[in-house]
Amino acid sequence: MGQERFADVVERFTNGFAAAAAAAASPETIKQWQEEIDRNVRRLTNLGRLATAAEPRTGQTPREEVYKRNKSRLYRYESSRRHRTPVLFVPNLGISRPYIFDLLPGGSFIEHMTREGFDFYLLDWGVFGPEDNGLTFEDCVVKILPRMARKVLETSGASELTVLGYCMGAPLSASFVASHPEIPVRNFVNMAGPIDFSKIGMFGLWLDRKYFDVDRFVDTLGSVPADLVKAGFKLLKPTMDISTNLNLWWNLWNDKYVEGFTALNKWANEYVAFPGEFFRQWVRDFYQGNKLVRGELVFGGRPVRLGEIRCPVFVVGAKEDYIAPPACVHALIDAVSSREKDYVELPGGHISLIAGRGAAVHCWPKVSSWLATRS
């Protein structure tokens, strides 16, 4: 282990490196290296663009506002309207904005549905302020949803409609469909909407009444500020930001990826507050009481029994969904009295089920083809 030996080793290292360089000089390897260098150059270029890029234009599918009630809006999208039954899409209230469903041309659930010829309506719940802190889950089911459904029937001239609920929009619309038999609902679709809250996972544990005093929370804060909503969701998957940034660096050479990322990132950082009373009822009756699946809810004097849903039902769960795990979404199938009911479990998480490249391949065609034969 003396100085002489060390010098020999260094010489052998240098010779070895030269040999390696010679071995690596195959045309295939050289091509790969060139590609890699090219990618890195593009990564750096796009990094600069990313820092200075203008906000992406989301929600580009043409639409018209057909009704508004306080902050909530009902939009009707342009389409060839090949199918007779219009679709009322009910997304989550609070948490995030609904332009995720019409993110970018070529990557939009709404664009897909309109291209498939559906007369598509979106209920945008809006961004609530302190004046709306008294709004409850019950108000949404009893006052807003029936009115929106009637507006859909009125403006489309149809005799029946399809109700499609996503995330929290699914229990909202399931409660509405179950308690409003006078509204002619032809089909009901639940996409990643929690139904049996005993199987909800981590949020269910954190919001358990043993550990979380929802009354004290709402009485103190009045509403659930957007920053707290953000903190809750970030905590659910703490490594999300790291993997998002790693994937961004890895795909930064790809202009299409960067375009999609900027739009998705804009959406992912735009959280929406919950009205206080809505949150109180949502946590107490659903997370803590699991009253929907137990049939213990009474809204506007009407009992909410999922067994009263008799129309064809389609339920879509996402395999890696940690916000609404598949088991808690699937529960709707056992709860309804429909003769025709189908369940599919697709790859992806809560968001990637409905937005992104995977959704365009796995989810959207399944939903549109199931509805096409029943509309």
Binding site: N15, Q32, R69, L235, T239, L246
Partner: protein
């Protein structure tokens, strides 16, 4: 190309193991007599082993850009492993209880602060003869209520119209 990269990684791992062994051997052997001071003596076996191994590795394996892919995979697995560990830790009753306690303490501190802040702001704005947030909120609430009343009236009129229509038909 993936195979060569795996080989590359295996050799790297082997090299680390051999270096560690060499280092352990060196540390365990007591010097027979007091050697002349050599600041590199401690690290030389590791360095020699490493350089030899790298030389062999370079001579046998072409380095490919696929190495980046392997690195990304490694990071993905690492993040996934952390995510699973954190998920398991946060999915326990103990964590939920701790979080509940933290939230309780935060709310207990927040409530008086919020109240005092709101009162101070209210008084300041009143002094400046400017509408306060609570005043604006109450006006907005009245507008929302007014809108609801109009809707109820609209519903009532439509129900009457429907009834009249059905009577006309019969």
């Amino acid at each position: 190309m993936a195979e060569t990269t795996t080989e590359f990684f295996d050799m790297w791992r082997k090299q680390l193991e051999e270096s560690t062994q060499a280092w352990t051997r060196m540390v365990s052997q007591a010097p027979p007599a007091a050697p002349p001071p050599d600041p590199m003596a401690f690290w030389r076996p590791v360095l020699n082993q490493g350089l030899e191994q790298w030389a062999r590795m370079f001579a046998q394996t072409p380095i490919s850009p696929d190495l980046m892919g392997q690195w990304k995979q490694l990071l993905d697995q690492w993040i996934e492993a952390w995510s699973r560990v954190l998920g398991q830790a946060m999915g326990t009753e103990a964590f939920a209880q701790q979080m509940g306690h933290s939230l309780e303490s935060w709310l207990a501190a927040q409530a008086p602060l919020k109240k005092a802040g709101e009162q101070a702001l209210e008084q300041t704005l009143q002094g400046l003869n400017v509408a306060s947030r609570s005043q604006l909120t109450s006006v907005a609430k009245q507008i929302v209520e007014l809108e609801e009343r109009l809707e109820r009236m609209e519903d009532g009129i439509q129900a009457i119209l429907r009834r009249l229509e059905s009577r006309e038909r019969t």
